[in-house]
Subunit: 149 residues, 2 copies
């Protein structure tokens, strides 16, 4: 049931798009299976905050390549659910520090496993060498596209 490159035109764009959607869907369904009602972006935000530690909304938005305005509202929801706190920065009164609450930290540990499982499944049947190759090629593609045309 696999697709043969020789007989299929290389539709990089649609391939990438579909993989992205499947990744999101897989992760979200893995999350709900574990009883967590989280969207994909909420998952990524919590993950970042867990691994990188507290940071400002601006930093988080940059790290996630995500819109600051959209992030504000996403943080609102996570704060309402008591997964994080917005703490004023004593040095800069414009800035905030987002920190995970204890409850957010335990959540983080649990949802990490969900992401791992999906990543594992995505790379099934691929050798270490192939994974490295894939990463190299994808990084190259990204670099190419990031060049101002």
């Amino acid at each position: 049931m696999s697709v043969n490159p020789a007989t299929t035109p290389f539709q990089l764009c649609s391939l990438i798009g579909r993989i992205r959607n499947e990744l999101h869907a897989n992760i979200e369904q893995e999350l709900t299976r574990q009883g967590f009602e989280l969207g994909f972006t909420q998952y990524v935000a919590l993950k970042k905050l867990g691994t990188e530690g507290p940071m400002t909304p601006g930093e988080l938005a940059r790290l996630l390549h995500h819109n600051p305005g959209a992030l504000t509202r996403l943080l609102d929801k996570l704060e309402q659910q008591n997964y994080l706190r917005r703490v004023p920065d004593p040095a800069d009164r414009r800035a905030l520090r987002i920190e995970l609450t204890p409850s957010g930290r335990t959540l983080w540990k649990r949802i990490n496993a969900c992401g791992e499982r999906v990543a594992q499944r995505a790379l099934d049947h691929s050798t270490d060498k192939e994974r490295t190759q894939l990463q190299t090629l994808l990084n190259r593609v990204l670099e190419n596209l990031r060049q101002p045309a």
Copy 2:
């Protein structure tokens, strides 16, 4: 300025996500540069209709892996701009055939080049062998994720 796989954790998910966004952005900016005010999905829809010929909204939605409801409104806009027509199917009064108008057909030829340019740029500095490899690996990833977990 390239990223070394050995020193970077393999974040397949974020890599794929960023490439997708860059692809969309690159194509849209290529389109506007040529004077076409089209969104990415409008571009893909026109492209499909051009290469595959007339089909029903349902077929198009399936081919694009896109929501039928959203597609209805997208087709509305393209029809208003006179790029396509909805023709009733004589055999099945529920169904429609979407066909490109002459103006839609000439548009299609022009925007095709935009997509080509972006695809070329994305694969810059990659050999034929590497492109095939990339396609194979991505297809495998997609297949893995499509398995019902």
